[in-house]
């Protein structure tokens, strides 16, 4: 190890964390050439491949490496929150119709493709412009992209470094949700914890909101597969040896490193475009069921699988680093110039989806993140049980009925998908939030409860 591992956790969380290989993985990450500061683990840490999920590592931009495993296969898997002009009581009377309409209108993509058809040239433009491309082509409202991390598109994306295969996989899938732990949730604001931040974000108690958790679909997955495949020989060329092949990496400044980053940014932009497309479909569904007067505003959109070029003070000196966030969310504090102007007074919104049927959280980034964790906090509850363990002894009908008794409707493309995502399969999201709040990385703003769950 070149540096130490720092874990943010409560006693209860640590007792669970030691049961899988996540700490070993965080220790392997501490071997990355050019790592700056510690190998970090957020309180939702669990075993991934290479990096743990909930892992953060910054590497020096001149002398350090970039590791595609530190971003993940699902490049820019992330979360978008929409705030509606409706309240819980208004939506509850027509909940079933709304959930069914959204399930029809937002394809999960397991059947192969979505509703949005684009050609090769359009895809190349979209890979550069991200969410804004979708807005310009009628899939959004004027200011949507302003309320997304990086304005919904990373600069220096290079569509030419995205393989033909990745484009072939991605092109039919734009505007689709995906499956597994991806979902779209109708929620209401159950509790406000910070009045000032909630007001700035446009959140009020009882308001109906929509949380979309999805990523870059087949395009991103193929980009990571392509580059990981070629990294083995590249690592030998640069004399890099690491304990885990999935941690494959190359110098940031190398041709291979720059090619990966160009492709990664393009894939990230695809994911933002993807979430923008689904935003449009959700708006249509609301207006179809209620009226054309219903508003859905993009509150914000954050990524939690990404690598970004940022600057931090480390041991008294300003350093240019590449921050790998693998299942971890950027959480910039009040006053930070990259926080959307409307939110700069209170800090960047952060969305932490809980498991199906429990709670999600809205947080606001705080100065502790910049001081300690390269501007980062957690991304979710973190899985506790494997998929097989989650299914054991459980019955789909019972799970669905339990949720309905709580007033939560679920629509899923797959029965197995419901069982594998039961709340018991995840850590306690409230506990995870307490850790980041108490550590000063991000503060609690609002707690959200589900009303309807749409899954692939």
């Amino acid at each position: 190890m070149l540096t130490d591992v720092r874990v943010y956790a409560s006693r209860a969380i640590i007792e669970k964390v030691v049961k899988d290989r996540s700490l070993d993985q965080a220790a392997n990450v501490a071997c990355l050439p050019g790592i700056v500061g510690s190998s970090l683990a957020m309180p939702d840490i669990h075993q991934g491949y290479g990096f743990p999920i909930g892992g953060v590592a910054a590497t020096d931009c001149s002398s350090g490496v970039v590791s595609p495993g530190g971003v993940g296969f699902d490049i820019n898997c992330g979360v978008r929150l929409l705030g509606s002009s409706l309240n819980r009581s208004e939506v509850r009377t027509r909940l079933k119709e709304l959930v069914d309409q959204i399930f029809r209108d937002v394809p999960c993509g397991t059947g192969g493709s979505g509703y949005i058809k684009i050609n090769q040239k359009e895809l190349d433009d979209l890979l550069v412009e991200g969410a804004q491309w979708m807005v310009r082509h009628g899939y959004g409202e004027t200011h949507d992209a302003e309320y997304a991390e990086a304005g919904g598109a990373l600069a220096d994306a290079d569509p030419d470094k995205v393989s033909a295969r990745a484009k072939e996989r991605g092109r039919p899938q734009i505007g689709t949700l995906g499956s597994g732990n991806h979902f779209l949730e109708l929620q209401y604001v159950q509790r406000i914890e910070d009045e000032e931040a909630a007001a700035a974000f446009g959140l009020r108690k009882g308001q109906v909101v929509v949380l979309i958790h999805s990523g870059s679909r087949g395009l991103g997955h193929q980009v990571c597969t392509d580059f990981l495949r070629d990294m083995g020989p590249a690592m030998r060329k640069y004399g890099i040896e690491l304990p885990d092949r999935q941690l494959a990496c190359v110098p940031i400044t190398s041709t291979e490193g720059q090619n990966y980053l160009g492709a990664m940014r393009a894939a990230a932009n695809f994911a933002w475009a993807n979430r923008q497309g689904m935003t449009h479909f959700v708006r249509q569904a609301f207006r179809r069921i209620f009226s054309d007067d219903v508003n859905l505003k993009v509150i914000y959109d954050v990524c939690h699988n990404i690598a970004k070029h940022e600057r931090y003070e480390v041991d008294g000196k300003m350093r240019d680093v590449l921050v790998h966030r693998k299942g971890a969310t950027r959480a910039f504090p009040p006053g930070h110039r990259e926080v959307t102007p409307a939110y700069r007074q209170v800090g960047q919104p952060v969305f932490i989806p809980g498991s199906m049927g429990t709670a999600s959280w809205v947080l606001a980034g705080q100065s502790g993140s910049v001081e300690e964790t390269f501007g980062t906090c957690c991304h979710g509850a973190g899985r506790l049980l494997s998929r097989s363990a989650a299914k054991k002894g459980r019955d789909v009908k019972r799970v669905v009925n339990d949720l309905e008794r709580q007033g939560i409707l679920i629509r899923s493309g797959s029965k197995r998908g419901i069982l594998e995502e039961v709340p018991e399969a995840y850590k306690d999201v409230d506990e995870v939030i307490e850790v980041v709040h108490n550590a000063g990385l991000a503060k609690k703003v609002a707690r959200l409860r589900p009303m309807g769950v749409i899954k692939g």
Binding site: Y49, D74, T110, G112, S179, G180, R229, L385, S388
Partner: protein, 147 residues
Amino acid sequence: MVSPPTIGPVASYEVLEHTADIGFRAWGTTPSDLFGNAARAMMAIAADPETLSGEEEKQLEVQGVDYPDLMVNWLSEVLYFFDTDQFAARNFRIDDIASDRLRATLIGEPRDPERHSWELIVKAVTYHQLKVHQKNGRWEAEVFLDI
């Protein structure tokens, strides 16, 4: 018609536990059997095998630096065919294999969104704890999939 090499029994794999994703252990008497059974294992995780049918064939060739690398590249190729070429393979025949390359035939039919959807979208094949080796008198592989 030349008899194809042994395809192997369908149930030559088992699912492996992983917190966030899913894996399998497949086995066979030869590398050829193993690689065929590994692809079957992945398709059983991803799709409902009962809905897969057809006798159309697609040939493909894959390279790798060693058997583990070849396994990842082979399974990634099958994934790619399902996702893009829209070909739902129900069975696999390994026509020729060495540690650095293989030639195979996918047997199935064009994808029909009404019948062939992903049960679980397999995003990618990982190198995580990847094993391809001889053990207890047979060939075995352990592969984890990102889902």
